[in-house]
Symmetry: C2
Subunit: 180 residues, 2 copies
């Protein structure tokens, strides 16, 4: 598999280095909305250096594009960030935060600690994703403890309603609910 | 990321089409043992068509080789199988079983339902993996229910002691315990 981000992803303007949390999430939601317009899944993610604000990895859902069930947006962003730093853990390289347009499914939840990020920031809730028919899998409950127990901060509901609008746009467009 | 299996993987003889469960696991453990000799992680996986016995995907742990935390053996095997069938779910193409040299970590456990396999067969137990220092992550408990509740059969302890020998060989060789 020769994994590359679609070229349009690099044309979406990045948030400024000292962006607010909402500005970073707005960027991620712009990626998700554009992915929907291009018939991809309604999810996006990005990883930022907490100190510098630099974006070190971007991801959109590529499940259909690559016929690969593991290419959720968070997984793509983790692959991109680790590739950029040539390191299977980000933690030796600084403090990083992963933004996701929706709360992670069971797989992505399990993957996040391996990536070495220090914070996860989510927009739509798990139940918002399930509401349009996607399956989030069986997670430890409460799922946030799977991260906080390992020192990973979880921030929820950042631009949640905007993220729900992207999910609804996907559902309204007749987007495929894979793994539904 | 241009993901390819190491070429030596294709030189390891496949089990016969009508192999026993133990013969299929022996094949997977041969991959794991050879990966250790080549300084990779002590884990391997393979996906077989339950009816025909055909191997549709192989995986060894490539975390260090690709500097990528998500390239656990099961993930590599899922990527390979879905790529071979050009499908983000195996289930429309038949009934498949995933063999793994060890019980899945939290990430791989979450990924397995998305792959569309019908059965998971494991050798080493979670606690065997933790015993040499690896982290398996926070899983729903009991973890097997995350699969059986979705109709995925779980078979444990197939050649467990042989799998533990591979884990111990890795630890004795001074293999890196990433995500430890």
């Amino acid at each position: 598999m020769d994994l590359e981000l679609p070229t349009w992803v690099h044309d979406v303007p990045l948030p400024p280095a000292h962006a607010t949390r909402e500005q970073r999430m707005q960027y991620v939601l712009s990626l998700a909305a554009e992915n929907v317009r291009r018939r991809g899944g309604p999810f996006a993610s990005a990883i930022f250096n907490i100190e510098t604000g630099a974006c070190v990895g971007k991801g959109v859902n590529l499940v259909q594009a690559y016929a690969c069930s593991i290419l959720h947006a968070e997984m793509v962003a983790i692959i991109a960030a680790e590739s950029a730093l040539t390191s299977y853990s980000l933690s030796p390289h600084g403090d990083f935060e992963l933004f996701a347009s929706a709360e992670p499914c069971a797989m992505c939840l399990g993957a996040i600690p391996w990536s070495g990020v220090r914070r996860v920031v989510c927009a739509a809730r798990d139940e918002d994703v399930r509401a349009i028919g996607f399956d989030e899998g069986v997670k430890p409950q409460p799922w946030t403890e799977a991260l906080t127990s390992r020192g990973i901060e979880v921030v929820r509901d950042v631009l949640r309603s905007e993220a729900v609008s992207v999910l609804n746009a996907y559902a309204a467009s007749g987007g495929i609910i894979y793994n539904g």
